[in-house]
Amino acid sequence: MESYLFPFDSLICMLLGISFTVLFTLLLVFIIVPAIFGVSFGIRRLYMKSLIKLFEWATLRMERGAKEKNQHLYKPYSNGIIAKEPVSLEQEIQDMRRGGAEPEFDMSDIFYFCRRGVESIVDDEVTKRFTAEELESWNLLTRSNYNFHHISTRLTALWGVGVLIRYGFLLPLRVTLAFTGVGLLVVLTSIVGLFPNGRMKNYLSDKVHLMCYRICVRALTAIITYHDSENKPKNGGICVANHTSPIDVIILASDGCYAMVGQVHGGLMGVIQRAMVKACPHIWFERSEVKDRHLVAKRLSDHIADKSKLPILIFPEGTCINNTSVMMFKKGSFEIGCRVYPVAIKYDPRFGDAFWNSSKFGMVNYLLRMMSSWAIVCSVWYLPPMSRMEGEDAVQFANRVKAAIARKGGLADLLWDGGLKRGKVKEVFKEEQQKLYSKVLVGSSEDCSRS
């Protein structure tokens, strides 16, 4: 019996080897060549559409399964409920009282605060912003399967096939592409760095950067839709965007050329940073320099003043938020006094959650998760440039930009400071609540005292 297998054995190995090589080469050609020229075959969009149909089918089956067992399919609530404008304090209290009675103090007013308090105990808006967004449907990834336990055998089989495809095929492909992209970036930017400064160098540097970022985009199977490209950031300005994950950089940089800002890292990141800065001026800070706000501001202003340098890309939130809201923008970048080009980035969570919970996952873990998701689908909106107005201070300007970004991206505009992930709340917010409530009452007591 065994003697029959031997010749087949080597034949099979050879066939497998050949088919793998051919497959990979084809794919690399289909992916890298378009990346170089910035064109797309539309394969990814087709992929995205078929995935959506698949997920809808899977959810329907689960609902059916749940109904059969006569239980309610527990749908974690979609972002829509919290993102809507909360009913104002005045309105709520008036609703609660005997339908539109005089705005006097009512003992039941305490219910409003009580309810809000208990709501926050059950589900904290702020903590919620920092955990991954919950989904209405299941996207066949175990990591998003928080509460779905009505899964039939058919679905399990489908999930199994999904795992095979994602880890056996997509992941190796993507990792290869990622290494290619990064490797090319380092090598080519170093080569471009050898050229003398001038228009040729800038042109080449732009092309090289764009090409490598596009390869990285394909390495993540990111399907990006850019809106309003006429507002793309120009030289001598700052590009400001909301921050969900480190991938944001790749997404923006694959469509335009930016000067990056960041801390100098060691290891692989350091190599990349040093190579990039040879081709065009990026701003890398030493760890010690980061604390010195004046130094930071000066370097940024100097860069902007030079019109031949690329627009700076900054994420003012300072930390990753889970892409359902835009947290407080730090005012530093808004004090510089130049044009700000706001950009809103919104990820579609159905395909793979791009949010990086830095307290839970390290960077490598995160990247692996990203590369073993189905895809990363996001939309980028370029907003028209804004400048600080007369009599507006940096904080107000920052808030204005933040509100514009939140509105465009359909994200909730929260007052909260992103640093709240690890910080304390200011007494100011409590006072604001008291102010709102007193407005409901004080009006009435003034009337009473007059009469």
Partner: protein
């Protein structure tokens, strides 16, 4: 994929808990996850500081009182069962509840909701809201936005309206009469876990 039932098994006496509070298994799990998230040190119970770490609660004018409602007098910790039982007050009223004469009143009945709110006022638990206690709540809700005289006049007026037996304090029965009927249907929280209950009943 089987994860739900295993989580439920980890919670002791979960059947009793579900029966007493009326929460479904999915809700219990959701609350358990929340409990674990709040219990940052993983001790299996919560202390007042864990509640204090919730930013929205910290900025709530009566946040301390709400936290206090979770801890029985003398106790410094609250376990999962107590946590869920207190939150059960905020489930919407079961409109179609059959009236069994011998069963205890459900935690989320109209009466118990009012009692919860009453206890937020009545911190010394003597069964009456004194003028002082009312003033304290008013101060918490209004802060520096109104003068002391205005606060006192509001308190006086409220007691005047509500106090029927003229003992200068508001008892639970008087509190009940003063609270609007519509209130009972509003005393539920819009948080997702609980909102789903509306579809059930």
């Amino acid at each position: 994929m089987g994860s739900t039932s295993s989580t439920l098994l980890k919670i002791p006496n979960v059947e009793v808990l579900m029966q007493e509070t009326g929460f479904s298994p999915a809700h219990i799990i959701r609350l358990h996850d929340r409990f674990k998230a709040l219990d940052k040190k993983g001790r299996g119970h919560l202390c007042p500081q864990d509640f204090g770490a919730i930013k929205e609660l910290a900025m709530n004018p009566i946040g301390d009182r709400i936290i206090g409602a979770f801890f029985s007098p003398g106790k410094e910790t609250v376990d999962f069962h107590t946590f869920v039982k207190i939150l059960a007050h905020f489930r919407p009223v079961d409109k179609n509840r059959p009236k069994e004469p011998n069963s205890p009143e459900p935690i989320n009945s109209r009466s118990n909701k009012l009692r919860f709110a009453f206890q937020l006022y009545d911190q010394d638990k003597d069964g009456k809201i004194s003028r002082d206690e009312l003033l304290k709540v008013l101060r918490a809700m209004l802060g520096m936005q109104v003068t002391e005289e205005q606060l006192e006049s509001i308190a006086d007026r409220t007691i005047q309206e509500a106090d029927l037996d003229r003992d200068d304090a508001i008892s639970f029965e008087e509190f009940r009469k003063v609270s609007p009927e519509i209130l009972h249907s509003r005393c539920f929280i819009k948080a997702p876990v609980i909102m789903l209950m509306e579809r059930d009943c």
